[in-house]
Point group: D2
Chain length 337, copies 4
């Protein structure tokens, strides 16, 4: 912890701060600068830095220990690589996930899966429990939805990813789902994260609408510290003042996360932009920036989708995009199956 005194701080004020932190169990190391004094406080228990900020003569207190450990590249220098149904995320691999926003019916999932199979999709997405801002909006097919996506995936030899919203849904997801998604609104549902630390299937955590990268990594730490090592992160757009796009997709997530963490970083360009014609450009951009995976909404008939059809690609658009991705990936030393 570093305590920065104001330029005019008196000797008495400096001594008082030293005394305060020493009583809390820290060793105090003052550095007397030309203008200001800084006190390094080493050892000691966890303390709220604001307690010290309220002492006279203190300008600012800075904590120097980053709060995530297991998620950090310092803890594990080599990339985590997660494999699901032959698809790899992380390291030199770029994995692809596709499917509709919502499971609507067996027919809809089957037709979509048939179309996606031609583009070599091996992991199918589809929501069964939907977080909706309005209580009057369609809330998903629930358990039946999970059964449908599982059956269709099995038929086409695909794996399944779907969003979990509640601790009580865990047994159901264990049965039907291969990758558990934690949505942006649940990124800091700490009770849920703790329980997911007990699971032995991959967890994909989406960045909250106003979450920092550090907070996203802290949420990963909740799962990792429970013993589940297979965590992927997903950028899906943050909330800003801009109104044309639904969210602002922050692609700097890719180089930032890859520098500080060993966990795979995926991009969701569908929620990140909210409009179909922005999905392909932002997907290509993600690949060129070096992302470890993409999760893209595709529907066999977007015009009649129950939900988010406007941000879903047509199968032919996905196929074109898949071929572009295959061309861009090797330029950034990434493999796509």
């Amino acid at each position: 912890m570093l305590i920065i005194m104001t330029p005019g701080a008196s000797k008495k004020e400096i001594d008082n701060v030293k005394l305060f932190v020493e009583r809390k169990g820290f060793d105090a190391h003052p550095i007397y600068g030309e203008i200001q004094t800084v006190i390094g406080a080493v050892g000691g228990k966890v303390i709220d830095p604001r307690e010290i900020e309220l002492l006279d003569g203190v300008k600012e207190v800075i904590r120097i220990t980053s709060s995530y450990k297991l998620a950090s590249r310092v803890f594990q220098p080599q990339d985590t690589v997660i494999t699901v149904n032959g698809v790899k995320f992380g390291g030199e691999h770029l994995g692809l996930i596709a499917g509709p926003c919502t499971v609507e019916s067996y027919e809809q999932m089957d037709k979509t899966a048939i179309a996606l199979k031609k583009s070599n999709v091996k992991i199918l997405r589809g929501g069964a429990f939907k977080p909706r801002t309005s209580p009057y909006a369609f809330q998903g097919l629930g358990e039946e939805g999970l059964e449908i996506i599982r059956a269709v995936a099995d038929k086409h030899k695909m794996a399944v990813t779907s969003e979990i919203m509640e601790i009580s849904q865990i047994p159901l997801f264990e049965k039907h789902v291969d990758i558990f998604q934690v949505g942006a609104r649940n990124m800091q549902n700490f009770n849920l994260l703790k329980e997911l630390g007990q699971i032995r299937k991959p967890i994909m955590i989406k960045r909250g609408l106003a979450a920092t990268f550090e907070e996203l990594l802290m949420s990963a730490e909740y799962v990792l510290s429970g013993g589940n090592k297979e965590v992927m992160l997903c950028e899906r757009g943050i909330r800003t003042f801009e109104r044309v796009t639904r969210n602002t997709l922050d692609l700097s997530a890719i180089p930032v996360i890859k520098k500080v963490s060993h966990l795979p970083i995926l991009i969701d360009p569908s929620h990140g932009t909210g409009l179909r014609d922005k999905v392909a450009p932002m997907s290509r951009a993600s690949v060129a920036a070096g992302c470890d995976g993409l999760i893209i909404e595709v529907h066999y008939d977007p015009d009649n989708a129950i939900c988010d059809g406007a941000q879903s690609l047509y199968p032919a658009q996905y196929d074109k995009l898949y071929h572009d991705i295959k061309k861009i990936a090797p330029i950034v030393d990434k493999k796509v199956i």
Copy 2:
């Protein structure tokens, strides 16, 4: 729904849009302006406006039905007034809640309650389950914490408010707590909100860090539509680029919410600023703007608080603030007990 065509849209494009919405069950009413055509679409089922935005010649689609109903002042013109232990929130009343961030021990709660009683506090706050960014931080005393706050409150004839984090905690809260708080991070934990609609005790919903007022009201709607009419809203600061304050406390919440909704709007100046010396000015400001209540962190000994001591008032500071509030409230036609 209003469909705004681009200035250069052709007759064919306009007709195509009309056809599209008519097939979805809407009546189409075009208005031909000098520069642009607008099509009003009336009736029809719920539709994602972005589906139409992707049609050729469409500039923008605007939904005109506000999505909350029961929370709206149109639905209920007169103010909702909620009474807890003789304290009233809403209408001409301003209610006060005070207490520490976290329940630490019986002694800490008792000493704090004794101090607060002198300032006429009748509702005691204190967290037992704490949402913490880090899995390594203190997570609260849990059930024991709720038992302590209940016992202390009973001793001093006070009511209790505390934050609920999980559906499974509901029976425990029913037993010990008079006002259920839903924290900012859980504002869109829709499963929890649905369950709280079944409770018959007041629910205080805090605005999420990046939530709009409309979304806050939609979350209230989840509880109201379950049958629980006693919902209060609470502004506790939003996340912006400013770094000096922990959050940006948005006091425009007060006139905005009071115009569109009948629900009481409270302010939490402690989390909203994060520093003790900002709490009194922002509390007075909230009262002068016409808020229906305040929830303020006070600790009998903030310097030794486990959590958030830096934003907790000393009892003497709270007492001074209480007397200022008593002077300001009548100027805005509010009563404080």
Copy 3:
């Protein structure tokens, strides 16, 4: 400057950083913590901290000198009080400014001034040069506008404040205006600020839509360092994701600025909210939080105002507000004339 090494940094990396900063003229003071090493770098010339951040083993670099000096309360502990036409801003004084958004005609200004005089207004506001997002919008009456507001103010023994947009307008403003306003969009027009440092009339600098408090104070520093000591700051709302209000008025500006600076802090509730019915509540809130002044839009006939009529008060509303302000101010130890 404080250089925080990553937890796993090697001795070689630490030595390399020491060498690097010593070559730049700094003395290096390492503090060896349990987990991490921190190097304090004292003396030396100005250096971009990111240069060091790119060295191996460095986690973060923190500059410890705050960049404003003359604006700081460390430099001048007592409040700056600025007096214009008998109205005082700062210290124990709260000053009021009122008038229309834009000067439209002699008649409009005169009728407004007559109405405001009854509420004891002594400083008249009104824009002559208007910063408009669109080149096709009304850009103000220009020089003629300044002549009108000056003539009306002289007739009613009032002072004048108006917004300056360009260095070349300075001679004109010197002739007609008593307080020069620098608008939010020009807060970082550094060339203009430098020139205003040469003026000997008060300058009111409005916070930019995405400016931090520190940046606002740095802009004040440009004027102060030119020799002009009469600078007031003005909060007028920042841009956030919220869409109901035009901007988010950040009233924490008041306790924050008053703590770190001796300069008066004013609030503009008209631009800060953008809607008439929010102006009175937010004005009262500003006074209760301890602001040094308010600048409020009032028009004798808002329904027919050319510009921003929707956020202008009717004279009777201003008079009611004035009387509320007179009641609240003494509670926070402020005097209003």
Copy 4:
């Protein structure tokens, strides 16, 4: 203009609104929906929508005319292509600009230009007048800086781009500079923009830190409406709550701007991220998303740069990036020289 009434609005309120807009010269076209009434107001003069929002029974008013015309793709369907020294921006072309943040000396510019020439750079960037937050920071070499960059560019047959801060600098820039840059802080310096409409050289306008895409296009409209048709737009990062990156580079600017406007959209990944190791990934991403140009900071010796060395590439890094760009561009149907 569309006036959306509240669900409970009475017939009297609706009639009153109709009367109000008709008196302002509009034709009123009500659409009676099941829940709400909407009034389309056609014709009439410009009016502040908030005036109507304050009438009883009005929920919201929406303006339907986009405020930029000349910048719109409706006005000019085909892409604007701007050519400078053989480099093309727009249409099927991707142009590259490189050079140091600041002109420091003849030697520094010459060495940098020699290095860049090997990577086929034909437009050299370098600041002579620097907008600095602090009045105490290095403000650039001024006129001497422009003379140096011009001399070096001439020697190596390159063109010059540099940032203009003030109307009075225009003659100097006309003499030495081929592309005038308007910085983010000056994006709404409307007086400057108007004057640049009179120039006959390309203008590059950078998006402000909190500016919407619509506002950026409105600023372009100021220049276009003055008669200068050669305007390029540049995304350089917006300000958000995230603190790891200096700004959040919003690459959705590319598909958004290309849809609504014919003007070229460039990306500045150096300011957009603020750190050298993020520049290459974000540059590749920009190309893959279809941008029309890149402006990248490169210094022959970044470790000894006066300013922003930390975000400047080494020449070898730029050369590697150039070759990656050459590979990615054809995949999105773009040509790079």
